[in-house]
Symmetry: none
Subunit: 223 residues, 2 copies
């Protein structure tokens, strides 16, 4: 589950609905020591920091988030139009901002954008609830990290590259395993099974079987 930090307490009411809608868990804190004590094992995926009430404390919190061990937490600032110039002096302290009062749909879109993409120009393949980051070799389903082995990842990546298309076991063996691979076709089955089980019961049907042909990711377009 994706965890998001919210600062300060007062900002929670407006933000909570959007976070719930995204299926993210969240926690409000007022200072850095409180934040440090309540960090989940997976770390914060993002932080929403309202600047308006006390800009200095907001920036201090952002500075702390940036200096932690897991420096991968994206920071989104909430700021009124009047205080916008303040952000210009701390341009490295945040990844995105949203003007207050905000439209829920805008905040949702910004969070969505921020939590899926890491910054920079990286290659991410997406299909429905599934996201594959080719550079970091990481996979996500429903914003949850998937712990895949090498072969599982390679297979899933190959399938995701052409959603809806059916691949025979022989094609998969030669394309994913290597053109010179020599081995039984049932190997594919086992990997498909492990993928399905790791995708979870809810998303196991992302990979569908086409009897006596092969496997396919997602549904065919006209079904």
């Amino acid at each position: 589950m994706t965890s998001v930090l919210v600062h300060p307490q007062g900002a929670a009411t407006a933000v909570a609905k959007v976070l719930d809608l995204l299926g993210a868990s969240w926690k409000t804190v007022d200072d850095t020591t409180e934040a440090a004590g309540s960090e989940p094992s997976g770390g914060w995926a993002g932080a929403i920091v309202a600047v308006d009430d006390d800009p200095e404390r907001a920036f201090e919190l952002a500075r702390w988030v940036r200096s932690r061990e897991q420096a991968t937490t994206s920071i989104l600032m909430l700021v009124s139009a009047e205080l916008l110039p303040e952000l210009g002096d701390h341009t490295t302290l945040f990844d995105d901002f949203c003007l207050t009062p905000f439209h829920p749909a805008e905040l949702e879109a910004r969070l969505d954008h921020l939590l899926i993409r890491s910054d920079g120009d990286d290659a991410i393949i997406t299909y429905g609830p599934l996201s594959l980051n080719v550079e970091t070799y990481q996979a996500m389903i429903d914003r949850r990290p998937l712990d895949l082995t090498y072969m599982e990842y390679e297979l899933l990546r190959y399938l995701t590259a052409s959603p809806g298309k059916v691949f025979s076991r022989e094609i998969l063996l030669s394309e994913v395993w290597g053109y010179d691979y020599y081995g039984g076709a049932r190997t594919v089955d086992v990997h498909i099974r492990r993928l399905r089980s790791k995708l979870g019961e809810e998303h196991a049907n992302l990979i569908s079987t086409v009897r006596s042909v092969g496997y396919r990711l997602g549904q065919a377009k006209w079904t």
Copy 2:
């Protein structure tokens, strides 16, 4: 002078003032062929793409910008609240967006943020508790100096330049050691190991192993 691409023609009037204020040069285009023909020698630093008029053409242009050789161009979308959901399906096609009608100060702040962060000409690289001074060849962890040898430093610097990204041993050998280096891949392992030990038990996990792929600095965002 930073050059910015603007699409389509109609969006120019609203955007021009802000770009002039930032001291950036800009050019309006209506399609990709026009954009391809007018790219300056330094390349586009950014692109402002208005979605509202013709979403499909806007996304097409963004796709083109992303697919070029110089993939360093940041893309900012201008979109009305009604069309906001459209963006969710193309989350990798842009770096930031701004709701229309927009406050000039907001667009200015977003462009500022987008364009400044792109040219990172800093002598100090920082990632979490780790900081590397490229000029003085010094490294610090938790504000304590790290005594690294030449190769250790070069390797750590290369990894830190792209946090989260996985590098194979072959890539590391050719990029850090030199394209004409001839030697065993296990050499990388040993250097990684010494780096980990010098980082200390607390921070040894800054460098993680991706089995049968390579190494990566930091656990990327989704873990």
